[in-house]
Point group: none
DNA sequence: CATGAATGAGCCTTCATTCAT
DNA sequence: AATGAATGAAGGCTCATTCAT
């Protein structure tokens, strides 16, 4: 018989729960009301706790924002990890499909949240310190691309993530399936196109010829 | 001899000038201090006018934001127009290069501004009403793609714009030349990849085979 | 006919008046309710202005406190100046009497205010920067003592001021006339006693004998 | 053999100790951080107990303040008692010197504390109820002065205490030895000057001449 | 009894907006 | 029209006090 799972002390449990409920409330408010309605009183009310409790766990309002950003990044990274775990043996095409599904779902479920968090991440200077979870996701994707023989895997990973984010953000109203299709198209296209010379032509096989070929 | 430009009355001139100076101040403040420092007093001070004057020309603070968004959109559209005007006879490759240069320059010059305006555009529901200038830019690009025989030109135009914006936003620190190269790679890849089937394979020519082939 | 007095511009007038009314309200609140009730809302309400107006003229709450301290110091210095002006030709005894009256009146009129301001002066580190008005008062008194041939006039001036303040503060309930009499006794005694040797005795004329002799 | 001191029950002992540690923490905080940092959480943290424990022994925050005031008054009174015990047979001069040393040491060791407690004593209306320990000190000094034949010993005792406090508070930065000298000068002068007529004149021997005579 | 998380009234400060000059 | 002082609602944060554990 397995031993009972390590029991958290009540104190820790309650703390974690309060933190959790606050972050969830913060997420909902940002999603529904935008940055303008994101204030400590509203978050506390929605979380069903008092303002004071927020300040028990967060030094100030920005710290709530930061924690939320980290949490979302960790979630995304977790989903990415799971998707990549099952994608090791799949053809690139299908593997990419899984990753895109993750990304689309992530941005689509709470479209405003993701966008606001992006902006706030910058304001708070969190990208600078190479946010742990974001970096992990990037590393994960980089490693994956490397196993597939992609050149400049780190840069490509970042590009693909950004490209996908841009497309998804910009087309949140669209049918997710169609959006996924187009994102996959962009990603596969980016990978297929391969590194391009900085100025122009030189690659006789691609050049102006490549595109026309794609347009029957 | 060309006729003199339609002369504005002094009153109108002064009005335009005040509006202009206010918007410029607003842009600078958003760029330097973010949304947090964007307040009517600060804008007025930076613009060298009184708060009252702002309210003479804008019903409220959001109206300043809106006007700024429109102005920036118009600027982008104007730059796009000029780029496209000279691109009519160029090979797709080079034409795209010109467009990308416009986009990269636009987002790079005032990186924070562009991002904030994007977010505010949503908050204010301006995308909904199909922002005139944004729509114009989109139409312009759509028309361009159409002449090049791209399928689903409208959707593709939006995708490319979003994709490029995502990449540029996410890599603002990078060398512009290299960033431009990668954006071009993504765009050309997207176009070359052509419409993809929604589910997966079916296209024997692509499938898992396409990518490996692209990576020597 | 004399020209009309230099008219303050309406702007300045209103400003001065608001500042004045705010400081007066602050003084009243400190006097009546102590430090605990000294808050911006209460001051604004009592002054008959809005909180915002306070912040138009004072960067923060402490600045109101500081201004009040300066104002009171200036008032005391002014009163001292007037008292000394008329005391130049008086015998020391009477001159001192006038000064004491000023001090007693100052501390007695708003007993709590004076004490609180003293404490706050320290908290705000205002004594350090040698508060202009306080220093002026001290200098004035120092000069006066010097003309009377008192040794160490600067130190004595400070001692007398402090000594008087201590006595007055500690006996605010007493009859002002009697209090004044005792303060004068202390001051004249201090001056008459002259510099004392640091250790003890040496002064045969004083010793245990001095005091009894003073008590018929 | 003396009987063992009345043994407190462990419970009482612990209580006393907690009270002690809390008051000590309170004193330190007031000394270092002023009234502003004097809050129950800080006191509890510094005392190494929980907030709840403070409320076990004190009905509210003011009660902590009150207890601290009483403790300090008791300490001063204790020191005064010891000083007076040894001063019974000394010449007044030396006796006074000992008392002054006590006062200077008391105010100098924790200068801010003493000042804050003075103010708080007033706010809490503790002087009104003739604070036991303060009254004791006053009585002690009154009795001492009486044995020395000083007129109005009670009033004089209060005056001397206040006068000394004022001088010491106002000159805390000075060299203690020099400060003590000046305080002694003031006190001896006060005593030597004896009761003064309320109005003025009458003392032909003094007038403008008194002071010069004192300054050889 | 001790603990310390939770509570929420209250305070400082900002800023969109108005309006007398 | 332009100005900018005045307004006051709103929001960030603190801290005295309570109470479940």
């Amino acid at each position: 018989m397995p031993p009972p799972p390590p029991r958290k002390s009540p104190r820790q449990q309650r703390s974690r729960q309060t933190v959790e409920v606050v972050l969830e409330a913060a997420a909902h408010i940002l999603e529904d009301g935008g940055l303008a309605r994101f204030n400590t009183n509203a978050v506390a009310a929605r979380a069903g706790v008092s303002v004071g409790s927020i300040y028990q766990y967060f030094p100030d309002k920005d710290a709530v924002m930061t924690a939320l950003i980290r949490r979302e990044a960790a979630r995304f990274d977790g989903a990415l990890e799971r998707a990549l775990a099952g994608a090791a043996d799949l053809p690139l095409d299908d593997a990419i499909g899984g990753l895109i599904a993750v990304a689309v779902r992530h941005q689509t479920e709470r479209p405003n949240l993701a966008r606001i968090l992006d902006l706030e991440e910058r304001r708070l200077g969190l990208e600078e310190q190479a946010e742990a979870a974001t970096a992990a996701a990037l590393n994960r994707l980089t490693a994956f691309l490397e196993t597939r023989g992609v050149w400049e895997p780190a840069v490509s990973a970042a590009d693909l993530l950004n490209l996908a984010r841009g497309m998804i953000d910009g087309a949140l109203g669209d049918d997710p399936a169609d959006l996924s299709r187009r994102v996959r198209r962009a990603i596969l296209g980016y990978l297929a196109a391969g590194p391009q010379p900085s100025k122009s032509n030189t690659t006789p096989s691609s050049g102006g010829g490549l595109i026309p070929r794609a347009l029957p």
